[in-house]
Symmetry: C2
Subunit: 340 residues, 2 copies
């Protein structure tokens, strides 16, 4: 098979039997090495036909040729897929990825953001899954070289990359409204998070357009977890399930919800309709196959790497932009007209 | 909430605003620092009531308080869950985890194994997903401080931790045999890998016991991927599907297989029975819910961390042992007697 990726600093380091930062510092002229070591590195550079990565030039202060990726929870397939996409894209560019799982705890997030200041990584792709109390934004604004992806850190001045959550909510609402639903339950993440706010705003816009004020939207806010999906399912049943349709705003929530409904003999879509969000898991094999808004997870990963490399970090922070990636609705069999 | 984990070197480093290795080297007496920096670190140690981690003592040469975890592909939920389990266990012990995704390429595996020699990590949990050509074993034997988990590197002298794959294959075969199946298709990974060999050996043992030589087992070998599952499904259909039951030896294979069978109108279990392996994905929500051998993925992660910390690495390598973790069969609705 043809060699598809460029030789990286890492390859040179491996061939010369030294650390990446030794090679990097030799190239920057900032390190005096024994002649023999120096020769080994220079030989490796020639042998491997290494050229410093042009994409990484703008991140050049640290030149570890390593980017950091901070995610909340790798066991969640959405984040796992995002990580894999970042790894694949970085690999194409000859960059290494250091991956850090925060378990969604702010203390860990702070520690990892500080890696930039210590030059352990040249830049970070940062993904959080909880509202910020201001500390994350402050740190991001101080260090720079951070791309905020998937979920917002509202006061951070950084390039930001999200799915078009509002549009996703709108597509879900429109699909439900077209099937005649006017009484819909929204199951979201924390109320303060933009993913949740925007998905709800889109749902509300669609229902407004369709029902001209006569629609009723109830809301449960919690976490994007299977456990919260189960909790929401129990609450929905306990409240006598007046809504005729549910918009479950993550795969994990949908899985927990379906488990509970099924255990109580509530049929989808005969008794209640369901639209999901993410479409990373094998929803197409579920009984019934679940209609869902599909997030472009792999594109988020690819674009986040590109943004990190292409951003001019010397620009005034006011000019950083928010990029929205398109979502789509994948129609399967979990939506029907309301039960009489 | 109560603080559940011990203060780590990382916490001290964060509080003092220095790198982990600076703290570590100060404690080892190997670094002279400005008096002011030294005082900041010492204050942090007192403030946080830090005690060097007793669990990590045996890994003490590097004392980065960081363990490395090398996995093939994070997008695969089996590996994602394993990673999350290692992260959670390490966190309890006050250790950081550096995670490396190899994309299942040997060049990357080699580079990451070399991190131990460079003291970037104190030890590694190593997970591969392809047969070794001898290079991995050589490197593991040279560096030490590597726990081989999930899949074997046959010539490596290292503590090894696997699911009881043979028992899993046996349970699958026994369940199929009890339903009257005598003609079974095994869809496995690469023929040379122990996961594949042992799952097949268990299946063969069960069929031998039940059918006394009259059973017929056909085999497809490939990769533990959705794509290979689809390929296997197409081949099974093209061959006129003489087997009455399939043992798909990973969740990913089962997903690809079910997709193809469903698209061609082949019903499970009416037309063909199916037993899966892993049970990490939401197989319980599939149509029909899939009977599968469940791997103890979280236990593999926890035990791998424990093995890394508890192994006496000065022992002669001959005394390293292989540990097998128990599997179970989760019976759902994808197995029925053979169609007439």
């Amino acid at each position: 098979m043809a060699r598809e990726r460029a030789t990286s600093l890492k390859d040179v380091a491996a061939a010369a039997g030294v650390s990446i930062s030794t090679v990097s510092r030799l190239l920057n002229g900032s390190l005096d090495l024994p002649a023999e070591t120096k020769k080994r590195i220079e030989d490796a550079i020639l042998d491997l036909n290494y050229h410093p990565n042009p994409h990484a030039r703008r991140l050049s202060r640290g030149r570890s040729d390593t980017i950091g990726l901070v995610v909340p929870d790798i066991a969640n397939p959405f984040f796992a897929t995002l990580v894999a996409a970042v790894e694949a894209e970085a690999d194409k560019l000859g960059l290494a990825v250091s991956l850090y799982a925060t378990l969604n705890r702010q203390g860990r997030e702070v520690a990892y953001l500080q890696l930039i200041e210590r030059n352990h990584v040249d830049g970070l792709i940062f993904v959080t899954n909880h509202p910020d109390n201001g500390q994350l934004a402050e740190l991001i604004n101080r260090t720079g070289k951070v791309v905020v992806a998937d979920e917002d850190v509202p006061d951070a001045n950084a390039p930001k990359l999200f799915s078009d959550n509002e549009r996703g909510g709108y597509l879900a609402g429109k699909h439900l409204a077209e099937h005649g639903h006017r009484n819909v339950l929204f199951i979201g993440g924390a109320e303060a998070m933009i993913s949740s706010r925007r998905r709800l705003a889109g749902l509300e816009r669609a229902m407004r357009e369709a029902a001209d004020g006569s629609a009723n939207i109830s809301k449960y806010h919690g976490e994007y977890t299977i456990e919260f999906g189960r909790e929401a399912g129990r609450r929905f049943l306990a409240e006598g399930r007046p809504p005729t349709a549910i918009f479950a705003s993550s795969d994990e929530i949908a899985i927990g919800l379906i488990e509970v409904l099924r255990a109580q003999g509530v049929s989808i879509p005969e008794d209640v309709s369901l639209v999901g969000f993410d479409d990373v898991g094998p929803l197409h094999l579920f009984a019934p196959p679940v209609t869902a808004i599909r997030q472009p997870v792999r594109s988020i990963g690819q674009r986040a790497v590109a943004l990190l490399l292409e951003t001019n970090w010397q620009e005034s922070p006011g000019s950083f932009r928010e990029t929205l990636l398109p979502v789509e609705i994948v129609v399967r069999k979990s939506v029907a007209p309301p039960a009489r």
